[in-house]
């Protein structure tokens, strides 16, 4: 399996590229990052003297800014390999701690969202292929096109507005009610679930349409295949043809899409999570950008890219096992 090695080398290349990219990103910043930190420390009163500020700023940076650039790069890579990503300048917590705390929340909502939109979309798409040519199909396709066109963060804004402000039915912010003690109690689980409803709905309502339209197009093509005509000639029931003959054959290409969505599981959407103040990785990402918290931004982007790249690699390998017709590496 030569292509697996090729694919793995490529993933490694991509990861090294992002490591170097994130290292240089901080240098693109206008002005000297060190001076910037010192300024922040002095202004916020977290350091009383300039010497203290300089010392603290140095400890925040993952590398020593006075070293020659190649040594800084090597130090940075060494730090990354040891899981040391520096500290956030807004909260002073290690970046790795923030990532470990926030990643599970993102994976939690985005995996539910992905499962729901894939299932609902696939079922709807097959139903539409079954009802092809009817007025119901025409209307649904138009509605799906509109839903699919709405950006997920706009949907999130609408849901936030309607269901937490105009009709305050669902919780507005956070991953759970902070008044309920954290633990495996019924109350806590219910709280986590109700807080997840709106972010999940924002993803599902905008994503399911794409899945539905995709499988509908595929199923319409499969319906023209000879073996479907033969099945019809044998007098099989239409519903059986749709599920067993058409469904199975049109679902495979959907997996390509599913594979490509794996990255989304870890990244989530910075905007949707920010709108609901959800404690996931996307929200920290957005707040790191607006607070100009470069070490945090650097670390989050790096971890995000590494997870996405590795997930895609694994998915690619799995995919060839599912569909033997796929030849990767052409």
């Amino acid at each position: 399996m030569k292509w697996i090695y090729r694919r793995a080398i490529l993933a490694l290349l991509s990861i090294s590229f992002t490591v170097v990219l994130t290292f240089f990103l901080i240098r693109l910043m206008p002005g000297n990052p060190m001076d910037y930190y010192i300024q922040i420390l002095m202004r916020s009163g977290r350091a009383r003297t300039i010497e203290e500020a300089i010392a603290r700023a140095k400890s925040l940076m993952p590398v020593n800014m006075n070293d020659p650039i190649w040594k800084q790069l090597l130090d940075y890579i060494e730090g990354v390999l040891h899981g040391d990503l520096g500290r956030s300048i807004s909260s002073f917590t290690p970046v790795s701690e923030i990532i470990v705390k926030s990643l599970p929340w993102t994976v939690f909502i985005s995996s539910i969202a992905l499962t729901l939109s894939f299932t609902i979309g696939t079922i709807m798409g097959l139903v539409l292929a079954y009802k092809r040519g009817t007025r119901f199909e025409g209307f649904s396709v138009a509605a799906l096109t509109v839903f699919g066109a709405i950006p997920n963060y706009i949907m999130a804004l609408i849901l936030f507005y309607v269901l937490t402000i105009v009709y305050p039915i669902l919780p507005m912010r956070g991953g759970y009610d902070s008044l309920i003690p954290v633990g495996l109690t019924f109350e806590f689980i219910v709280s986590v679930m109700t807080h997840a409803i709106l972010p999940v709905a924002s993803y599902v309502l905008t994503d399911f349409a794409g899945w539905a339209l995709g499988i509908r197009a595929m199923a319409t093509t499969v319906l023209g295949e000879d073996y479907v005509t033969v099945a019809k000639a044998r007098g099989l029931r239409e519903s059986r043809i749709v599920t067993n003959y058409v469904g199975r054959n049109s679902i495979l290409p959907q997996f390509t899409g599913l594979v490509l969505s794996i990255g989304f599981l870890f990244g989530g959407s910075p905007l949707v999570e920010t709108i609901f103040t959800y404690p996931g990785i996307g929200r920290f990402f957005a707040s790191a950008v607006s607070a100009r918290d470069y070490p945090l931004l650097q670390g989050l982007f790096l971890v995000l890219s590494i997870t996405v790249i590795s997930a895609n690699l694994i998915a690619d390998i799995l995919y060839t096992r599912i569909d033997p017709r796929v030849k990767v590496g052409d």
Binding site: L10, L25, L28, P151, G267, L271, F285, V289, L304
Partner: protein
């Protein structure tokens, strides 16, 4: 293009409902962006007696958090929004097409290098990369914003362009051009590219759709420096700056940009699907 061709493509456009609705919506937005600012001058002086004034004859969409007319802001915003997405779309398509054409036609080491670059660009998560770049570069210049928006969007087009070129490369007329000694670059740009123009055109529309998604997100999240009347900025102000979203009598200020963003996005998508139907008759059902 002959007059007949124009008439027949217009007829196809009218017959295709999606393309028709989409193109009407887009035409509306383009007219609004081109001529709107001439008819509705932008007055940035706060009028505190008009803060969150409800829609009226004088102010059809009401007023914002400092008493400015929302309709005027939307109209001026349309110009910002459209300029940025157009530039984003053009840069994405030009980069993607050139890389795809060169990689596909030249093959060999060039192809290997470009293909690896494409693979790397495809695996790095898109929106986060765009947000990081926008946060670091902090630019107001529309062309720089366009470059940021196409940070890795070009790669997908380069990939599909390359495989299109690979299939065209073997055709007879290319052989003929080679035989009479036309240079490789000339063949790529005069023989191969024209055949792929419809494909490039459709991908331009898709790139514009992506740019709209990402650019509104950037302004909404507040990463790009203040462009006062961009619809994304209006949402950012409503949500994070003025808190209008929590004020019951300021509803119109939140709803107006949301509706226009959705309208433009739907128009663009309908138009691009419609155009795809027209150029890809096999998909017509």
């Amino acid at each position: 293009m002959e007059l007949n061709d124009i008439v027949s493509s217009l007829r196809v456009l009218v017959e295709n409902k999606r393309a028709l609705i989409g193109s009407l919506v887009l035409l509306g937005f383009i007219l609004m962006a081109l001529f709107g600012p001439m008819i509705f001058p932008l007055d940035m002086n706060p009028k505190f007696n008009l803060v969150y004034a409800p829609p009226s004859l004088e102010h059809p969409l009401g007023c914002d958090y400092i008493g400015l007319d929302i309709l005027t802001e939307i109209i001026w915003g349309a110009r910002d929004v459209l300029t940025i997405v157009m530039i984003g779309g053009v840069i994405t398509v030009v980069l993607g097409s050139i890389v795809g054409l060169v990689a596909g036609y030249f093959g060999g080491v060039v192809d290997l290098l470009l293909n690896t670059l494409v693979d790397i660009a495809l695996t790095i998560p898109g929106l986060p990369l765009i947000i990081v770049l926008a946060g670091l570069i902090q630019t107001r210049d529309p062309i720089s914003i366009g470059l940021i928006l196409s940070a890795n969007a070009w790669a997908a087009l380069a990939r599909s362009m390359r495989s299109q070129v690979l299939s065209i490369k073997e055709r007879d007329f290319i052989e003929a051009s080679k035989a009479i000694g036309i240079g490789r670059l000339s063949i790529v740009f005069y023989d191969v590219l024209p055949i792929l123009m419809p494909f490039v055109g459709i991908n331009f529309l898709f790139a514009v759709v992506q740019s709209l998604y990402a650019s509104v997100a950037l302004f909404f999240i507040g990463v790009l420096p203040f462009s006062t009347v961009h619809w994304g900025t209006m949402l950012n102000i409503a949500m994070q700056v003025s808190g209008a979203i929590f004020v019951p009598y300021a509803r119109h200020y939140v709803i107006a940009p949301v509706i226009f963003i959705i309208l433009l996005q739907v128009g663009l998508i309908l138009f691009s699907y419609g155009v795809e139907d027209i150029f890809n008759p096999r998909l017509r059902t």
